[in-house]
Symmetry: C3
């Protein structure tokens, strides 16, 4: 299958795009980071990918096959992205993020540097990860720690994760929760601050993200 | 009045745009859905509309007169939108959404498929609706139910609505609330989870969205 | 240093751009407000600024030196912005906003009209300010009052501020909080509704925005 690149898309010098991929209008691939170290780096995106309109992917990222973005997505430099990953419209992925295979991130989310999402992790719309324990402090930049989602962890819509929390394997964070400490494997947590969900009513009503299979 | 379409805007084949409408730069009208069924469908937008820059409206939607979008708005396929509707900058409207006349949605909001907003509904900035009770489950897609706002319901800024909740006529959801069950007509609810607001102090301080008349 | 303007950028008639500035692709500078009063006004942006791709800055704003935007930022008319200010990707700044020197706003935030942020204020990702106490009421527009951040105030990720609250000097609002009343100088508040943080554990775990030095 041929690769299709819209006439208005802007493709940087050192961009490799797998066959059968589609790049929509007003997209920028291989944008140049401010950091001079990142400027010479290539951008690799695997086969069968679709980068939707108005999205920007920086140089220095390595992205697997069948990558899907919504519209207006931003992916900064030096991120490592597996295969079969999708990122929803208007989501911002900062630099030095790791997303393993089959990760899905929905719309309007924010994922800062040094976040790690293992296989099959799911992140709902408007979810926010954080990574700085002492903002505006002198050494804030040297102490950044993003959240770490273990395989199959799911984060409900509009939840907030504090810096460096680990979300356990197949754990579920309820929509609108604020997660201030680690969540055990398989746990369901809800509220502000997020705590173990009390019972079946809570379970069925509060821990619910948006459609993960939606596109 | 003539219709004004910016030189850089991209207009699909089967797009009908009412007279006196304005389409800004870097807009895409009549974008083609992934679903092959939706590809042949027309897009109709009524008279006196203004689609601001960097917005995308898919094929297969029917939109009334005097439609206003902010910048970078996304409207997916198969949605039905009344007259005098406005959608704020960077808001994402998924497919199969129904917005009746005089609905206003503010900036950075997320409205998934099968959401219904009746006449005069108001949705604040960064509000998130959800529609999947069991995310990533095998039959998640066949059980999607979006929120349903009855006429005049208002959702405060950054609130989160769980799947399938009904928000009563002229009810008000406070800013930052997480709504896990139906809200009665005329009620004011606040908090996480959202509950009836205690008194006048709460009423005046907590249940407050951003300016609904703002543009 | 010369100013660099991308070939696809659209620059209005009365735009002054300081030397050494960079304007990326698909940017619009000097966009025309709907309000006829604002149409004739100039846009001034100081030296050494960088307006990243897909951003829109309206006519009638005055912006200091070394202004930095992320991608897809929206700055509406009649705002006054100091020097060394940065605004993150996809953030929406409405009209008549005041940002003093060294203010930093992160990604996906929403700042409505009549908000004021004093020197060194910091606003995390997906933060939402509000400004209307009685939405959809007849005189809502004449009673708008945005939040006021005193110098050095910091607002954690995904927090919501109710209309007209004052956040004290060097105060810190925890991530995911909903602020319904004024916050004293130097205070740390968390929760929904936000209250004084109980102790050192809370302090270290809950009051934490994302990296403020990040770009």
């Amino acid at each position: 299958m041929p690769t299709t690149i819209a006439r208005t898309a802007i493709i940087g010098r050192d961009v490799e795009l797998g066959e059968g991929s589609i790049v929509d209008d007003f997209v920028i691939l291989g944008a140049s980071p401010s950091d001079p170290e990142g400027r010479a780096l290539p951008l690799h995106i695997g086969c069968g990918s679709h980068i939707r309109s108005h999205s920007v992917v920086y140089a220095g990222c390595s992205v697997g096959d069948r990558f899907q973005t919504g519209h207006g997505v931003l992916v900064r430099e030096a991120s490592e992205i597996g295969s079969d990953v999708s990122i929803g419209s208007h989501t911002v992925l900062e630099h030095h993020v790791v997303l393993r295979d089959r990760v899905r991130i929905h719309s309007n989310a924010f994922v800062p540097e040094y976040s790690i999402v293992e296989e099959g992790g799911w992140i709902g719309p408007n979810v926010v990860f954080t990574n700085a324990a002492y903002p505006m402090s002198r050494d804030a930049k040297s102490n950044l720690r993003g959240p770490h989602l273990l395989p199959g962890a799911k984060i409900g819509a509009n939840a907030t994760l504090l810096p460096g929390v680990t979300i356990g394997r197949d754990a579920l964070v309820g929509a609108g929760s604020v997660v201030v400490e680690d969540v055990p494997d398989g746990a369901v947590v809800v509220g502000n601050p997020a705590e173990a969900d009390a019972g079946p009513a809570g379970r069925s009503r509060r821990a619910v993200p948006v459609d993960p299979n939606g596109d």
